[in-house]
């Protein structure tokens, strides 16, 4: 059956749904082609961004398809062993159901110990190896050197869901959008990939007509801030859309929530992320934006952070300060 699955993933142009949008077929090909006696396949359900909940929805509604996608990966990649890597609360809630579905399969249902950063794929490897929860230098990528040094395929569960559909030729070029904030119809919606954010909001009955608002797209802490006029594009990264009613939103409180999230979730390994985020928090606490200092912090965060967490910190603050605060 999954003889030509990698070809199918390629022609479907499936991109990873964990946030990085890396072509799925390339990852699969790399792990398949790297010679090794043992390989791993990990279904990543670490969902750790603020206000993002689409993984939980998929887990609740489509566990059979996820396991099906994982099975296809295990068949495609020789000598492979699987993990379903679950956020703590997801583990508690879905462990039994997933165990039933994976009975007699070489799959471990794994309970994540860490937080947001543990979804980063090298930290996934560190967790499974029971090592310190800090990211590893890339390259080598997990596809070459992952768990215990073996080639490891790590995909978000939504990716596996669509792998199952693609294998059965049922993929309709959709994705899951978690929509929340100051709107009426919060929830997760499976909608076409190419819909603009504006259309998504309108079709779900969430377009605010009478209020001035802004949106945070692609993550509840690291997501970019967009004004209504900027919503004519489709989404990149993780499928999340948070709407803020400008009149109801205390911008400093919002930034404080983000910065506290990053302070809590970062690993403190590298100077810019550890100290830069702290300085940012001190500034936000004092409700005093020093733009020259911020420019310096954005530079070192974006250009010199060890991993994607630090690199992503600047985006929401910079866009909020530029577009909404001033």
């Amino acid at each position: 059956m999954p003889k030509d699955i990698i070809e199918k993933l390629k022609s479907a142009n499936l991109l990873g749904r964990g946030g990085a949008s890396f072509p799925t077929y390339l990852k699969w090909q790399m792990v398949k082609d790297t010679p090794a006696k043992k390989k791993y396949v990990v279904c990543n359900v670490s969902e750790g961004e603020l206000d993002v909940f689409k993984d939980g929805f998929i887990l609740e509604n489509y566990p059979t398809q996820i396991v099906e996608g994982l099975k296809i990966a295990l068949k495609t990649i020789d000598h492979s062993y699987g993990y379903i890597f679950l956020r703590k609360d997801y583990y508690q809630k879905y462990k039994k159901r997933l165990e039933k579905l994976t009975k007699n399969l070489p799959i471990t249902i794994f309970k994540e110990k860490g937080g947001y950063l543990s979804g980063e794929e090298t930290v996934v490897c560190q967790e499974i190896e029971e090592q310190i929860l800090r990211p590893r230098q890339k390259p080598p990528f997990p596809g070459q050197t992952g768990i215990d040094g073996s080639p490891t395929l790590i995909n978000n569960l939504e990716t596996f869901y669509y792998v199952a559909l693609i294998a059965k030729n049922q993929y309709k070029y959709t994705r899951f959008y978690a929509i929340t904030g100051d709107i009426k119809h919060k929830g997760v919606f499976e909608l076409p990939l190419d819909w603009s954010l504006k259309r998504i909001l309108k079709e779900t009955g969430n377009w605010l007509v009478d209020q001035d608002f802004f949106a945070q797209v692609g993550g509840g802490a690291s997501g970019d801030i967009l004004l209504p006029s900027e919503l004519n594009r489709s989404i990149n990264g993780v499928g999340s859309l948070i709407i803020f009613d400008k009149a109801k939103t205390d911008l400093y409180q919002l930034m404080e929530r983000w910065v506290n999230f990053f302070m809590k979730e970062n690993c403190d390994k590298c100077t810019p992320c550890r100290e830069g985020i702290y300085r940012l928090r001190e500034m936000i606490k004092q409700r005093k934006i020093e733009s020259e200092v911020l420019k310096d912090l954005w530079l070192v965060l974006e250009e010199t952070s060890f991993c994607a967490l630090g690199k992503s910190v600047a985006t929401p603050f910079r866009s909020l300060i530029k577009k909404v605060l001033t």
């Binding site: 310190i132 230098q137 302070m263 810019p272 070192v300």
Partner: protein, 574 residues
């Protein structure tokens, strides 16, 4: 063998052809291209945490850390640009917010990396308030101080502790931050080796008392203060006075200590000659009388603590012969005191050691002779250098002087104690002679030398095979212990030093240190040995005399030369 693949890269316009599979940082160092950095140490795994060594790669977006980025064919690397300078400046400013400066009392007073970088990158070191000003100071036994308000979270100390297979230092989340802290695990304790200290780039670690306490004994009235210095000091302390690595300064050191007002200066290498004889005797006795084998050296107190805490089943393997400065200190307070007609209670013995674990060893109660400690103070190489500088004594300009009788000068055997393999080599020179009745072994025992973590050899003496092993670094020692658990008879005699390269790489030595520096320090010790007329411990005339006149009383011999060990529970309160 497959021919190594060479690739071409460019750094700052300089075309370089090098073997693949190395980092930009490594190639830059080899080509003398300076890239700043704090968290890289060639002894340890790449940390890539300080983010100062950022460079640009033409045709690629962003900045890359030289310490962790592998070179690729055709890479065109730029190590200086306005963007690079700005990123380094900001990261340095962030590093300074963590580091509460105390420059006057710092082990890097002479050569502080961040202080040198600050003006170069126009850093405002007080741009942000000190985040760690209320951070705690930890004390690890009588040996080490960790002032966490100076820590820049580079993680090298944690890595060094892990590389020693000790894992006492760890990273733990306390409130908002992950901090470096001593482990609360009762199965983990500090062995006082001080490798955290020698690998810390910013002086967050220091010896206990460094540098507040060294003046005290030199101001004592109504006491006879004597100073003895360890074998390795003579090839390391010169670095503190900007002399080249491996400078031999035995005579200058003697003279400089005298200029501090100390009349009686002793060379611990003479004590080492005593240790050698007693240890060779014990080895022969264990072999002939079927005692516990392999016999393991015990003159390294970090290693002894490692055995007593982590591997107590090997306590019976440790030689009970005392370490050189303890023996010499004991002789000073007994043999010498009697000879000089000085009340031993009036004598204050100060040891200058390459080591912070010696500060701990000195306090062991079982070492006391007639209620007195053989050694009253232990100071490090760095502490002595600090005092000399304070008294404006420049070691590089002092006229050398010889050590005087009664203990006089050591043999070459006593000098090489400072390098990994030296104790073994000295003891074997003596033991071979005693077993065979003649000088059989090559006097230069090459298999014992060098910086390899584990060295092994089999000797044949009078038709009998003697299997020996030497390890430096406690993780390497553990490898030998693991092997012994499988094959108890794998070795007859083992030398262990807790620090890389032995005492020349000790926690009390000048910083910074790396394998090249350790090699130079060791080479100089061997060169002293080579030039000595007397290279066998038993040829030392004072050794002969003390054995004839003093150690003929077995009780006295035992009091001065032997000790005991016991299983230890966790000592450091965490």
């Amino acid at each position: 063998m497959i021919k190594e693949k060479k690739i071409k890269i460019t750094i700052d316009g300089l075309a370089i052809q090098v073997s693949a599979d190395q980092t930009i940082g490594k190639v830059a160092r080899a080509n003398n291209i300076k890239i700043p950095g704090l968290c890289f140490h060639p002894d340890l795994a790449v940390q890539a945490s300080c983010r100062l060594c950022v460079v640009e790669i033409k045709g690629r977006k962003g900045l890359y850390t030289a310490c962790s980025t592998k070179i690729e064919e055709g890479m065109d690397i730029v190590t200086d640009s306005s963007k690079i300078r700005r990123a380094r400046k900001v990261n340095l400013e962030l590093i300074f917010t963590q580091h509460c400066e105390e420059c006057g009392d710092c082990i890097y007073k002479r050569n502080c990396t961040i202080r040198e970088l600050a003006p170069k990158y126009k850093v405002n070191i007080t741009k942000f308030p000190d985040r760690k000003k209320d951070y705690p100071v930890y004390k690890f036994g009588p040996s080490l101080i960790f002032d966490s308000s100076k820590c820049i979270d580079c993680n090298l100390c944690v890595e060094a502790c892990k590389a020693q297979n000790v894992c006492f230092l760890e990273t733990r989340k306390k409130g908002d931050f992950h901090d470096v802290v001593p482990s609360k695990d009762k199965n983990k304790d500090c062995i006082y080796c001080g490798q955290c200290l020698t690998h810390c780039p910013v002086g967050a670690f220091e010896g206990v008392g460094e540098f507040e306490e060294i003046e005290a004994p030199f101001q004592l009235k109504d006491k006879v203060v004597v100073v003895q210095f360890a074998p390795s000091i003579r090839t390391t302390i010169g670095e503190e006075f900007d002399m080249p690595h491996g400078s031999i300064v035995t005579g200058q050191l003697t003279a400089a200590i005298r200029q501090l007002g100390i009349k009686h200066v002793f060379d611990v290498s003479v004590g080492a000659d005593f240790t050698t004889i007693a240890e060779a005797d014990e080895l022969i006795e264990r072999i002939t009388e079927k005692g516990v084998l392999p016999m393991m050296t015990s003159c390294c107190p970090g290693w002894v603590k490692y055995v007593e805490f982590f591997q107590p089943e090997f306590i019976p393997n440790l030689t009970t012969v005392r370490s050189p400065h303890i023996i010499l200190g004991g002789l000073i307070k007994t043999y010498w005191a009697k000879k000089e007609k000085i009340d031993p209670k009036k004598i204050v013995v100060v040891s200058i050691m390459p080591c912070v674990a010696k500060k701990y060893e000195m306090t062991r109660p079982e070492l006391k002779i007639n209620g007195l400690r053989p050694v009253d103070y232990v100071f490090t190489t760095r502490e002595l250098a600090w005092l000399l500088k304070k008294r404006k004594i420049d070691l590089s300009k002092v006229q050398p002087e010889n050590i005087k009788d009664p203990f006089g000068v050591p043999t070459g055997a006593g000098v090489i104690y400072g390098a990994s393999g030296g104790v073994m080599e000295s003891a074997l020179r003596t033991a071979c002679g005693k077993i065979s009745g003649q000088q059989l072994c090559p006097i230069n025992f090459k298999q014992a030398r060098g910086l390899d973590g584990v060295k092994k050899a089999t000797l044949t003496i009078k038709g009998k095979k003697l299997k020996i092993a030497i390890a430096n670094g406690t993780a390497n020692a553990q490898k030998l212990l693991d092997e012994l658990k499988e094959k108890p008879k794998a070795y007859d005699y083992i030398e262990i030093m807790a620090c890389p390269g032995g005492c020349i790489g000790g926690g009390g030595q000048p910083v910074p240190v790396n394998a090249i520096i350790r090699q130079k320090r060791a080479n100089s010790l061997y060169s002293i040995d080579t030039k000595k007329k007397k290279r066998l411990a038993e040829d030392n005339s004072i050794v002969k005399k003390v054995y004839q006149d003093f150690f003929n009383d077995h009780h006295k011999f035992h009091q001065v030369c032997h000790t005991k060990f016991r299983r230890k529970n966790k000592e450091v309160k965490t």
